[in-house]
Each structure stands twice: as structure tokens, then as C-alpha cells.
């Protein structure tokens, strides 16, 4: 068993969020995006993998990762001057331990993460995301949208770390979780670490039921409650799925989710 997803600064032991333990069999993989170029990579992940990524100066990487089974994933990325790393991750079930460490080492380097999850019976997700801001005026924008059903368990630890010298850096993090069953367990730990005065950081989280006002408004137009849940939860994931920008990927994800064609 090895310790994974270690919270950068430990907190109260009793919460069970400081780390997670797991047997792993990592393969390694390297992705390198050369200076000034642009790449889009789509991966459906089913085995343990440690991925090292470098995004060269002025380059752009859009990485889409979809998780459906049981795997441990470590994704370590360094982002150079004026480079952009856009990450989309979808967790559609299973038992996943996933770590995302992004080092924003370059001036004006940028990182956006869009994470979506829809977890049901027996599903477990432990997610540890760290955005290390070293570069001046580096930016990070992390959003997570999720749905927990049945007895799903999820831990999302998201850290924005402003290192000394990262002046002008900005980081934001937002997680919205819809809970749909009394047996779910949600853990949310949004951390900001800061050793630089000239930065702006924010995080927010909302966790709970669907807004009662939304339900009332939609019901007043004749839509029954179950369908409202379906529409709202689907809309959450769909927003992220559409951002993959690739029709085939979208179709494949829809079929994993068992969604029909919208047109008929």
C-alpha cells in the first residue's frame, strides 16, 4: 500500500482527508508539447498511470481524461511562460484515486481544470488537485461539478498554492455538488496556501440539494420532480462534456452514461 493524494498541509486527522492508501501498479507516460504548438489529447483511463506533462513556452495543451473503472492516476504537469494547460476530467463511476499536480512555473502560465463526476452505487472517488503558482501573473481556474447518488463517496481536495514570488497571480476554485441520496458521503477540502502579498485567490463550494426555488419553478410548468433532477444533473455534466469539443468523444461518453439522442 502506498500513500497517495497527500494533502499539502495536513489537517485534523479525524476527518480522514490527509491521504489515501492504495495498492498501485503504475505505468508511466510522458507528454511533451513543444514551444508554440497546440495539442488536444483524449484519453479513456482504465489502468494505473503516472503521466508527466510539459507544456512549452507559448504552447497549449487540451487534455481530456475520462475515468470509468478502477484506477489510480497521477498527472504531473509543468507549464512554461505564456503556456496554457486546459484539463477536462470526467469520472463516470468506479473507484478512482486521482492526483493532479500542476506547476505553473512560467510567467503568465495558465491552468484551467473542469472536473465533472456522476457517481452512483459503490462508486468512490478521491481527488487531490494542486495548482502551484511559481510564475508571476500565473493563473488557475478550477471548477468541479458533481452528482452523488446511492452510497457514492467522494473526496475533493483542491489546493491553490501561491509561492513567494508569484506576484500578480490569480487563482480560483469552485465546487458544486448535488447530493441525491441519504447514504452519500461528501468531503470537500478547498485549500489556499499563500506566501505572496500581491495575489488574488478565492474558493467557493456549495453542497446539498437542488435549490428548492428551482424545483418549484420547474414544477409550476408541469415537470415532475424526478424529471427535474434528471434534467438538472444531466445539464451539469453536459456542460463539461460539450467542452471536450469532439463529437465522437461526446457520443462515447453519452453511451457510457446511457443517454439517448436528444433530438427524438
Amino acid at each position: 500500500m502506498s500513500k497517495l493524494n497527500i494533502l499539502p498541509l495536513p489537517t485534523f486527522n479525524r476527518l480522514g482527508v490527509n491521504f489515501t492508501e492504495r495498492d498501485t501498479a503504475f505505468e508511466t507516460e510522458t507528454i511533451s508539447v513543444p514551444e508554440g504548438s497546440e495539442r488536444q489529447i483524449i484519453q479513456f483511463r482504465e489502468t494505473d498511470c503516472e503521466t508527466s506533462v510539459t507544456v512549452g513556452k507559448g504552447a497549449r495543451l487540451n487534455l481530456v481524461q475520462v475515468f470509468t473503472g478502477r484506477c489510480a492516476s497521477v498527472l504531473k504537469t509543468t507549464v512554461a511562460d505564456n503556456a496554457q494547460f486546459g484539463l477536462i476530467q470526467l469520472y463516470l463511476g468506479g473507484d478512482n484515486v486521482s492526483e493532479i499536480i500542476t506547476e505553473l512555473s512560467g510567467y503568465r502560465s495558465g491552468f484551467t481544470a473542469e472536473i465533472g463526476y456522476d457517481l452512483g452505487y459503490g462508486d468512490v472517488l478521491d481527488l487531490n488537485l494542486v495548482a502551484d503558482h511559481y510564475g508571476r501573473r500565473s493563473t488557475s481556474e478550477i471548477t468541479a461539478d458533481g452528482i452523488l447518488r446511492a452510497n457514492a463517496q467522494k473526496t475533493f481536495k483542491g489546493t491553490i498554492d501561491f509561492k513567494n514570488g508569484s506576484s500578480g497571480a490569480k487563482g480560483s476554485e469552485k465546487e458544486d455538488v448535488i447530493l441525491l441520496n441519504e447514504s452519500v458521503v461528501n468531503r470537500t477540502v478547498p485549500v489556499i496556501l499563500c506566501a505572496e502579498e500581491d495575489v488574488e485567490g478565492s474558493h467557493g463550494a456549495t453542497i446539498g440539494r437542488i435549490d428548492e426555488q428551482h424545483i418549484y419553478y420547474m414544477r409550476s410548468r408541469g415537470i415532475p420532480e424526478e424529471q427535474i433532477y434528471e434534467m438538472i444533473t444531466r445539464a451539469r455534466l453536459e456542460r463539461i462534456i460539450k467542452k471536450t469539443g469532439d463529437k465522437d468523444t461526446q457520443k462515447r461518453i453519452y453511451s457510457i452514461l446511457g443517454w439517448g439522442d436528444d433530438d427524438e
Binding site: 470537500t188 485549500v191 463550494a205 446539498g208
Partner: protein, 469 residues
């Protein structure tokens, strides 16, 4: 101008005066069962308390130091003198308090404060409560405000204390709770009977004067059904070069539909290790309100905890932490929702300056049975320079779907536009920044009685003075 000049011309040196201790009154350093027995005998503890202390010591020796949070390796436990025998027994007449002790309190403005606005004052000088008084009318309403040790020997309260003492914070909770259980000394006991609404606050003022000494006071407050109490705790200690420890314990029992507001402005000297444990249990429809300002100490671990045990119970926590040079203040709050339709609200600010480290740490737990509960947490941090640190580590654990939990946090600096605006109206830069920081602390100052809010603003001004920009 009021006689209580403390507010107007407070400065650090003011808190730094001290008197020589008579060394012969020290017990030997380090803690053994023999010392515990000695303390216990000295105090004339009932037998159950002696047993409790020995059991706690055993727990203390078995537990590890905390594995998270700020470094406390500078704390040499063997050198902390657990107990300083007082030279005189507790006095209820101010005139019979020894002169040097009296002078200390006079300087702190305690008797004046009592006369002016406070319903009762308990001042702890080192380990024993030397002065205690409750206004007559307060006592007549059935409110008990006395030191815990006397109360333990009073047959009217003995059973009440035995059934509540360290039941909320058991010695097994953590190493310093165990230490507290073994060596606790002094502190307050407050009992507010059902239906009594105390309009004026009760106040307790703690000071730690002896070099290298620990302070382990215990505060036990029971507020019965439909009653109301505001309790104010102020702390300060003069400065010594040897590390000092404060491991107090506060246990609050809030009855059905009762409200307890517990306000603290803590300004321990900057070599103090403040490892204090505060906890409240709230029954159906009751409410606990914490107002907390942390300015002093070298290292703090402070997370007042509210356990919402009854349907509809509520907790509010409003806090500010100011970490300056040489300080590592790890503060926050914990809330446990243990019953349906409970709610909690947390609003905190932290400021880091001149190399100070402030950490906001919280946990909100919504248990399986806390259906229909709500929690909102909001924390803001201000960085005044780039040699300081400010960390925010909130956590939320939710085990039911019928809950609404919201969290927001923000970190940043003083806005240049705001400074420019104030300067354009004639303020110099330092004053402008001090004003902005005071405004930032407004969440807490607006919750405090006027004289405390003024004292807090003065503390902020002292911290801000001359060293920015």
C-alpha cells in the same frame, strides 16, 4: 474621559510589566504522579478528582504530540511548571488582595471595568482565582459565578460539576486535554438557571505572570433552558524569554432554547504556546455564539467547537486572527451537526504581517441524522507583505443529502485604490492602511461591547504602527 485608561493609551510595554516571583513557591518542574497528588492534596480535591487527575496523567503520557499544525518543538514540557501555589487564598474583598497582585490588576483596569459595566469579574492571577465577585442583583437572580474549585466543594454544585467536568472535552481528546485534566487549576464556574436573561455580561480576566509557568484554568458554564448569558474572557500575559504554555479548557452547556455568547480577546505575550480547547454542546433550539479575537501568543492552536445536539440548535462563530512577527497562529472553528434542522454560520478574517503566519482551519461535519441542516462558512485573509504567510484549510464532511452547505474564501491584499482614495482625503499611508485593516476586522469589532472593540482596534493600531510600506 473614563478612568479606565487601558483603552486609550494601550501599548505593548503596558502588558509587559511584571513582579518578581518568590521562587520558593514553585513546585519542581516536570509532571509525575507524585506532583499530581501534591497538587490535588494542596487543593483539597475530592477523591474522584484526584483519581481523574491521575487517570489524565496516564492518558497524557500515552498520547503523541499533534502531528499536524504549527511546530511546537520549542515547548519543553519538562520545564513547564505545572502549578504555582498562591501566596494567599481567594479574596472576595478587593482591599485584601496582596498589593503587587492588586497593582497588576489595577493597571489592567479590572476593578474599574467591573464597576462600570460588568456583572461580575473573575480574575485569575497565575493559578488561583484571587478575586471574585458577582454583583448582588445577579446573584439574587440565582446566577452562580464563582471559581470552579470552591464550587466543587459546595454541596449545591458538587454533583453538577462532577457530571459535567471534562465530559465535553475528555482527556483522551488530545495530549493537551489530558495534561489539562491532570494539572488544571483555577477557572470559573457559571450557572444560569432556567429563564434567567442576564442583560449585562459576565467577565473573566486571565493573566499569566510567573516565568515558565503553565496556565491550566478550566471554565465550566451551564446555561439552562430559555436563559441567556454573555461571557467575556480576556487574556494577556507579560513577556518572558522562557517558553510558556497555556492549556486551558472551556466547556459550555447550552440548554433548550438558551443562548450563550462567549467572547474572547486574547493577547497573550509573544512567547506563549496557546493550546487551548473550547467546546460547546447545544440542545434543542439553543444557540452558541463565539466571538473570538486572537492577537497574542507565539503559537496558537485554537478551534472552538460547537456540537449541535438538539433539533434546531444553532452555532455562530465570528473570529479574527492577526499574526505579526514571530507568530504562528493556527485558528478556526469546528462544527458538528448532530441533529435535524441545525444551522451554523462561520465568518472569519485573518491578517498576516511582518513574517507572521496565520492559518485558518475549520471543519464542518453534517452527520447522517442532521437532515435539513444548513451551514455557511466565509473566510477572508489579508496579506500585508510577502514575508508573511496565510493559509486556509477548511473542510466539509457531509453524510446526508438533505443539507445545504456553502463555503467561500478569499485572499488578497489591501487594494491600492482604497489606499489612494483615503490618501486623497488627507490620510498618510500608514493611517490609511491601519484604517482599512480596522475595517477588515469589523466583523468581530461590531460584535464586541464598545470598550472591547476599542481595545481591539488599539491592538490593531499597535501592530500596524510604523512598520508598513
Amino acid at each position: 474621559m473614563k478612568e479606565k485608561t487601558l483603552v486609550a493609551d494601550i501599548d505593548r510595554a503596558f502588558y509587559d510589566f511584571r513582579y518578581d516571583e518568590d521562587e520558593k513557591n514553585f513546585l519542581e518542574s516536570g509532571i509525575t504522579p507524585e506532583i499530581i497528588r501534591e497538587i490535588s492534596a494542596e487543593k483539597g480535591d475530592p477523591e474522584w478528582m484526584t483519581e481523574f487527575r491521575l487517570h489524565s496523567l496516564d492518558v497524557y503520557n500515552r498520547l503523541k504530540m499533534p502531528q499536524w499544525g504549527p511546530d511546537i518543538s520549542g515547548l519543553d514540557m519538562d520545564r513547564i511548571v505545572a502549578y504555582i501555589r498562591p501566596q494567599k487564598r481567594m479574596q472576595s474583598d478587593w482591599n485584601s488582595v496582596p498589593d503587587d497582585i492588586k497593582e497588576t490588576f489595577e493597571k489592567l483596569g479590572i476593578p474599574q471595568a467591573e464597576r462600570e459595566s460588568l456583572a461580575g469579574v473573575g480574575a485569575q492571577y497565575d493559578s488561583e482565582l484571587v478575586y471574585h465577585n458577582v454583583r448582588r442583583e445577579v446573584a439574587e437572580s440565582g446566577v452562580v459565578y464563582t471559581d470552579l474549585e470552591s464550587a466543587m466543594h459546595d454541596e449545591r454544585y458538587a454533583e453538577l460539576i462532577r457530571s459535567h467536568f471534562m465530559k465535553l472535552v475528555p482527556p483522551t481528546d488530545h495530549k493537551f486535554a489530558a495534561l489539562h485534566g491532570a494539572v488544571w487549576s483555577g477557572g470559573s464556574f457559571v450557572y444560569v438557571p432556567a429563564g434567567v436573561h442576564l442583560e449585562i455580561p459576565l467577565q473573566s480576566y486571565f493573566r499569566l505572570n510567573a516565568k515558565g509557568a503553565g496556565q491550566f484554568e478550566h471554565t465550566l458554564i451551564i446555561v439552562e433552558e430559555n436563559a441567556y448569558l454573555h461571557f467575556i474572557e480576556g487574556c494577556s500575559a507579560p513577556k518572558y524569554y522562557e517558553a510558556s504554555l497555556h492549556a486551558g479548557c472551556v466547556e459550555l452547556y447550552v440548554g433548550k432554547n438558551a443562548t450563550l455568547r462567549y467572547s474572547t480577546i486574547e493577547n497573550w505575550s509573544k512567547n506563549m504556546y496557546n493550546l487551548n480547547t473550547k467546546r460547546a454542546a447545544v440542545e434543542e433550539g439553543g444557540k452558541v455564539e463565539w466571538v473570538s479575537g486572537s492577537f497574542g501568543s507565539h503559537v496558537s492552536y485554537l478551534y472552538p467547537m460547537s456540537i449541535l445536539n438538539g433539533r434546531g440548535a444553532r452555532a455562530e462563530f465570528t473570529g479574527i486572527t492577526f499574526a505579526g512577527e514571530g507568530q504562528n497562529l493556527d485558528t478556526g472553528a469546528k462544527i458538528v451537526h448532530n441533529a435535524p434542522e441545525t444551522s451554523s454560520y462561520m465568518n472569519t478574517r485573518s491578517i498576516s504581517k511582518s513574517g507572521g503566519i496565520s492559518t485558518f482551519r475549520s471543519s464542518v461535519v453534517i452527520s447522517e441524522n442532521a437532515v435539513g441542516s444548513k451551514s455557511a462558512v466565509s473566510c477572508e485573509s489579508l496579506m500585508l507583505d510577502s514575508v508573511s504567510r496565510s493559509d486556509t484549510i477548511p473542510s466539509m464532511v457531509i453524510k446526508t443529502d438533505k443539507a445545504d452547505v456553502g463555503h467561500e474564501a478569499r485572499i488578497g491584499r489591501i487594494s491600492d485604490e482604497a489606499v489612494f482614495y483615503l490618501m486623497s482625503r488627507g490620510l498618510d499611508e500608514n493611517s490609511a492602511k491601519a484604517l482599512i485593516v480596522s475595517g477588515f476586522a469589523e466583523n468581530v469589532s461590531k460584535e464586541l461591547p464598545l470598550e472591547y472593540a476599542a481595545e481591539m482596534n488599539n491592538l490593531i493600531n499597535i501592530e500596524m504602527k510604523g512598520s508598513i510600506g
